[in-house]
Every structure is written in C-alpha cells, then in structure tokens.
Amino acid sequence: MKNAISLSALCCALATSAFAQDKTLTISVYSFAQDEYKEILYDPFEEICDCKLVIETGNSVERMAEIEANASNPVIDMAVIASQDALELARKDLLAQLDVSKLANLSKLYSAAQDPIGDNFAVGYTFYASSIVYRSDLIKVNSWADLLDEKLAGNVALPNITGTQGPLTLMMLDKAAGNDGSDLTGVISEVGKHADDIVTFYSRSSELTQLMNQEEVIAAPVGRFAWSAFKDSPLPFAWAEPAEGQAGGMNVMVMTKGNGNEDLAYQFMDYWLSTEVQTKVAEALVDSPANAEVVVSDEIADNLTYGADLINSLNLLSPAEIIDNREAWVEQWNTEVIQ
C-alpha cells in the first residue's frame, strides 16, 4: 500500500511537472537589455506562474510580420511595440481588445498610458523623451531649428523617417519653424534643401552613438533610452532642452487576437506594470516607468523620462496621424531628401 501511495505521488508530481512544462507564454520583445529583463522580469515571473516564457526578439518590422503571418493561429501571445505599430496591428484586426479589469495595476499608470491607441487595444509600459544630444564643448543647442542652421552644416545627423525618431524630429522642426507640427510636408521639403549639410540619416541609435563617439557628428536628435550610451563617453555630451520642448513617444503592450493564452498573458502584463517591476526596470536604466507610483533617486531620474511634469510636457505625435501619413511621408522623403 505504501508503495502504491508513493507511486501515485510520483505520478502526480510528474504529471504536475509535465503540466508546468506545457504552460508556456510566448512574448515578442525588443532585443535590447535582455539580460536585465531576464533577471528583473522573466525569471521571477516564471517562478510566480510556474510556467515557461518563450522570448522572441527582433526589430518591430520583423516581429509585426511574424504576428501577421500567423494571424489564424497565433504563435505570439503578447508583444511590446511602439504605439503606432500597435495601432497598425489593431487596424488589421490582429489584436485582442484588453479586458482591463484583469490588469489591477492599470490605474497606477499615467493616464496617457492607460488607453494610448483607443478601444483598449494596448496599454503603455514606458515613455521616452526625444531631444538633441550634442557636444557641449563645441556648441550649445537651444532650439530644434539649430539642427538645420548653417553653423552646424556638415556636423549633424538626423534619424531616418522610417524609424520612430524620424517623424518626432520632423514634428519638432516644424514647430521650431512656427507651425503646429501636424503637417510635415513643408518640413520634409526643408530638410531636403539641407540634405547635403546632413552627415547621414541614421536608422539605429547604436549607429548614432558610434558616429558621435568618432566625432563624425556633433549634434543629433535621439530618444532618451539611448542617453546612457552617451553619458559614459569620454567626450562631453549634453542633452538639449530646446525652447520648443522635447518630443516623446510610448511603447505599449498588446495581446494577439485568439491566442488562447489570455489569462497567462494578462498575468504577465500586470506583473510587468507593477510598481515593483517598473521600479527595478527603471533602476537598471532599461525603460522609463509608465507607472506613476514608481519612485527612483534623482541620479536615476536624470537618466530617464521620469515624472509627471516631464511626461505631461512631452510633444506627442498621434499614432493615427503617423499611420495615416507614413506612406506619403516616406514617398516625399525618398524623393526630396534621400535622393
């Protein structure tokens, strides 16, 4: 009898173990800072949920293509992407509307992050400011218009329009020219007139870090998430606070439609949005918090997009505007700027 009970217990243990092995959540994330995420987010969550996380990484286009290609039988349960990319997926009917009652930490988020693209298709998990990084020993940048000033000709790099920083930079250049930043047609033409003065149009912030450290470029717009790569450089770099303000953007969490793993995905999203995880991620200088309850030291805050005042002051470009106009912008950009 004793042997029979032991055998049953062993069978149960094996069955439970097998069940835990089967319980997996596949997430699609940006490829940076994966070591930090593993330590702060992935490993603790796997212990809590007794499940296995499958991490898919890549750039936005690759990951969005994967979600679209597997629309009828999703392989990705949950993804983090830029807000405009989330809207694009939502318009293609690839995302599930979130049941926000299952996200206990939602109310702790800044209001802009709670329903950033409408109809609860996404929830923001990080903000980023976008401004100009420059060589403080050589120049002083006071306005976005300085980027196209003759004094900086041949020393400036701009982000390509196809990346997230491109439209934000154009919006701020348009505002610096006295417009409202909503119609980018004029400012694209203006950049086209100065195209020979621009060193290059970069696609990745890592590319810009290299160019600035090699002294090829002395001023360029970049997201705050890349600032840590500049502040440790032996060269004196400064973060501009232009008269027109800083631009900003948001990355969001989404859930694929009909993935069949919704409960686990909600549990993971809520854990990521918790004050505990958002604080640890912020302290590791990985992402700026969207959770308003996160408190970090002044030193950490200096490296992040942190605090209600800063977040509320950011100039945001609506995701819908980006999606609706992106094709026309790229077409005009290719004709007037890149050529």
Binding site: T162, T200, F201
Partner: protein
Amino acid sequence: MFSNTREGLALALPAAIFALLLFILPVGILLSEAFQSDAGWTLSGYTDFFSKPLNQTVFLRTLKLGVLVAGTAAVIGYAAAFSISNLSPVARGRVFGLVILPLMISPVARTYAWIVILGRTGIVNDALVGLGLAETPIRLLFTETAVFLGLLQLFMPLMIISLLSAMENIPRDVIPAARVLGANWFQVFFRVILPLTKEGLVVGGTLVFTGALTAYITPAILGGSKVLMLETLLYQQVNVSNDFVSASVIAMILIIMSFTANLLLKRIATARK
C-alpha cells in the same frame, strides 16, 4: 572516369539535392513573388520599381559603382599581376600570400578600417589639415568615393588572383618575342597579354562586378542611407518596409545584372579571338 554514369550521378546527388532544396527552391519562390499580384502574373512590380526616381537613382548608382570598381580593379590588377608573375618563385609566393591576406579578414573589419582612414579625425583628414590643403576636415565618409574605395579594396584580390592565374599560363618567350619583333609595351599589352589572359579577365571581372553589386556591409557602413545601393535598398525594403515584392524585384535585377555582366565580358573576350 567512372565505370558508368550512375556512379557519377550518385556522387553528385547529395550536392544536387542540397542545392535544389536549400537554394534553388527557396530563391525561386522568393523571386517568383516579383511576378505575382492579387490578379495573377504581372510585371507591375518592375514598372512600379522603375517609376520611382529614388529607385532609378539607386539602380544607376549601383551600375556605375560596379563598373567603376571592376574597371579600376582590372587596370590595377593587370599591373600587379604582371609584376608578380615576373618575380622569382619564392618572392611570388610571398607576394601572393600578401594579396590573399585581406580575403582572410572579415569584410566588416576591413570596412571599419576605412572609417579610421576616411573619418573626420582619420589619417587622410589629419594629413590634409596638417599640410594646409584644407582648413577643416572634409567630408569623406558617407560619399560615393568612400563606397568606391571600400568596394575596390574588398574585391581587388579576386581580380589579381584571376589575372595572375591567367598570366602564369602565358609562355615565357611570348612577350620577349613580341618586344624583339618591334612591338611597344602598349602593343604588347593589347595584342599579346590581353588576348592571352581574357579568360582571367572574364572571371575576375565577373567576380568583382558581381561582388560590388551584392556587397552589403561596405555600402551600409561607408555610404549609409545617403549613398543607397540596390543591396542596401533591398535590406531597407525587407527590414523597414516589410515590402517583399520590391525586395524580390531588386533581387531579380541584381541577378540579371550579374548574368548580363558575365555574358557581356565573355562576348568581349570571344570577339577578340
């Protein structure tokens, strides 16, 4: 060589299956996308591609740089191969080793070396400013010149190897005989050396031209988005725009350009017989 053709076929079969399943089939599927639309088979992908001014510029730039790199490599390659072929066997082996040495170094490392040379704080600009030839450093990176130099350095060894191999097959007495009979060096080159090394030129020219057309790292690092070439545009279409149709069109154009260059070079070589 084989007692029957079956043995030969059996030995070739694994390589043939490998090539068919892992190269010809996937590339064929990818390229066929360039001829498909919702309405069926079409050439609209090509007409759309060439209707855009940016694509026209990129196509012509790629063709221009490919021809320039192959042409310059041929000129320098002939001089280098001729001088190497006249060295003693020991010296020839050593110099040949130096020629192929760059091929053993990653193209990424070789291309990054150009940043050190052509950058604003690089050797060239330091020399220009130091000698008073320029007041401030001049822009050399992210220009067609930088891409041209990078590609030339990348593929020059292939041209030299091809020409050297062809030159070593020229009978030793032919060139002295031509000189004794009164031919000047210009005539020796065009009437003796060139006809006898045309196969090497065809092979080297095809390798260099095709390599220059399809290299990605060098144009991406030294040219960036301001000096787009077909291969960097292809990468952009896939990774930024997720536009596989345009990418397939570009891939097909690159293949056609490579085959055309090979056929043209062979035709030129044949015409000289």
